[in-house]
């Protein structure tokens, strides 16, 4: 080891290696320039086509009015705050419900048959029903039941609909992750004397989790946007706020503002997840190949 370390201190790249490094550096630079240039060109062509179109002036006034954007911004932002809260609360509940359903669906043995059946039926039904329909059913039907102890607010029942619908999708993501862990891992866990549950908790789920992070992100971003659907129950979220602002003068800029704000939420989140996954080495080691 000491020998190897001294070797690393003494080493200076040879002539041929310096030439190779220089060539690689130039190639990287050239690729970057070509990529940047072609991107700019494409954007320029698309931008030019839009701006030179005959109706551009009207579109610009209706959709990209700066004063309107500034005046509607506070209201849309206020609406977005509701989206964020709905999303955060629902996401936690969705993870809990869907993980439970996924675990139930992967249970083995005849004892667990009724549970598996229940889990399968739930996933089948709620994946099959359009989200909007579930929101209508629960949003108007739920409060009408008059159950004591349960709130009757549209927000509560709208969130319930989101959780029920999304959990069915996310449960399948988790199930795919659980089943992708090689059976030998389960055997190794059980051979150490870990129980079924301990093996699941400490061996299978940690490995399943890292594999399903990208599809989970997909569903989270999707939820962020679908959280706006509960506006049909009369709750005012970002899109509803934008709609109200638009109704004042038929200028559609508030919709663009809402769209930009949604992107401002999702894009950093996606990048953060990518970075987190890379840091943990979740994406495997592909090297240069």
């Amino acid at each position: 080891m000491t020998e190897a370390q001294t070797a690393s201190e003494e080493w200076t790249p040879s002539e041929v290696q310096r030439e190779r490094d220089e060539w690689r550096r130039r190639r990287t630079l050239r690729s970057a320039v070509i990529a940047a240039g072609s991107t700019l060109l494409l954007l320029g062509v698309i931008g030019g086509a839009v701006i030179s179109s005959p109706g551009w002036e009207r579109v610009r006034e209706t959709y990209f009015d700066w004063d309107k954007a500034v005046s509607s911004f506070p209201a849309v932002l206020e609406g977005l705050w509701l989206n964020i809260r709905v999303m955060a609360i629902c996401w936690v509940l969705i993870l809990v419900v869907s993980l439970t359903v996924a675990v139930v669906r992967t249970l083995r043995g005849p004892v667990a048959f009724p549970l598996r059946l229940l889990g399968t039926a739930y996933v089948d039904v709620f994946r099959g029903l359009p989200l909007l329909l579930v929101i209508f059913l629960l949003g108007f039907g739920g409060p009408a039941l008059g159950l004591s102890g349960l709130p009757t607010s549209a927000l509560f029942w709208g969130c319930s609909a989101l959780v029920l619908s999304y959990s069915a999708y996310v449960a399948e993501v988790f199930r795919a992750g659980i089943e992708s862990v090689h059976p030998s891992q389960r055997l190794a866990g059980r051979s150490l004397g870990l129980s079924y549950g301990q093996t699941l908790r400490h061996v299978v789920l940690p490995q399943a989790w890292r594999r399903v992070i990208p599809p989970l992100m997909n569903d989270l971003v999707s939820l962020q946007k679908d959280s706006g659907l509960i506006a049909v129950l009369g709750v005012t979220d970002a899109i509803r706020k934008a709609q109200i602002e638009t109704a004042l003068d038929f200028n559609y800029t508030p919709y663009v503002v809402a769209g930009a704000l949604f992107c401002c939420l999702t894009i950093p989140m996606a990048r953060l997840t990518d970075r987190y996954a890379r840091k943990k080495g979740y994406h495997g080691a592909g090297g240069h190949l």
Binding site: M1, Q5, A7, P13, V16, Q17, G287
Partner: protein, 248 residues
């Protein structure tokens, strides 16, 4: 540099480091066509990394690797084309579990060498026959024993007639009674004139089959020569210590 036109592979001052850890340092080696060169040394001495550098699966930090008279460490060289003229066999077989045996063997013929499905199949079957597994063409890798899987892996690497076979600890994952069948196959291939660069812990095989044995320690070749010399009468203290540990 005296350029001998007969050599197939030549390493000059090859160096590879992962971060601060220098894995290979100043490695020189030549292989003539038809030769079998065996790398020996403790785990972590750099044997596998050397094979992976030759196959361009790792990019060397310095030094030149010449294959068939061409500097393949030049960044302008098409690595895929170079790899298509070498065969690499892994310790853990690395067969594709979603394909049957013949599918594994013929994949490179069809996708890389542009051979038609019919001809690829007949060449694949002939190759499987050569490794004694023609009857297993339709089997899935998971249904085979370790020794059979490794022979399939050798057939997969050899089917396109590579100029050089690289074998990375190909018997280390096998049960002792299965080691023999793979080593027998390698001995046979050597007899047929296949050029091989391999690393192994099987000293008996190295002694019987190798034309040249290289002892690696901490990424450097400490001793190289005929098996009689390196294994039979090692000159270096490190080589002696390694061999006595292997035999103990």
């Amino acid at each position: 540099m005296s350029e001998s036109s007969t050599e197939l592979l030549r390493l000059d001052g090859v160096r590879k480091a992962f971060g601060d850890h220098v894995v290979l340092s100043d490695v020189d080696l030549t292989i003539e066509p038809g030769q079998c060169v065996v790398l020996i040394g403790a785990s972590g001495s750099g044997k596998s990394t050397l094979l992976r550098c030759v196959n361009l699966l790792e990019i060397v930090d310095d030094g030149v690797i010449t294959f068939e008279g061409r500097d393949i460490t030049d960044p302008r060289v098409d690595g895929d084309e170079v790899r298509s003229r070498m065969g690499l066999v892994f310790q853990a077989y690395n067969l594709f579990p979603h394909l049957d045996v013949i599918g594994n063997v013929t994949m490179a013929l069809r996708l890389v060498h542009g051979v038609g499905a019919e001809e690829a199949r007949s060449r694949g079957l002939a190759m499987l026959d050569r490794v004694g597994l023609a009857s297993k063409a339709a089997a899935r890798p998971d249904d085979l024993s370790g020794g059979q899987q490794q022979r399939v892996a050798i057939a997969r690497a050899m089917v396109a007639n590579p100029r050089l076979m690289l074998l990375d600890e190909v018997t280390s994952a096998l049960d002792p009674e299965l080691v023999g069948e793979v080593l027998d196959l390698l001995t046979e291939l050597k007899g047929e004139g296949v050029t091989m660069l391999l690393n192994t812990h099987e000293m008996g095989f190295a002694r019987d089959v190798a034309d040249q044995v290289c002892f690696l320690h901490d990424g450097r070749i400490h001793e190289q020569g005929s098996p009689e010399q390196v294994i039979g009468d090692p000159q270096q203290e490190r080589t002696r210590a390694f061999l006595s540990r292997i035999r103990a």
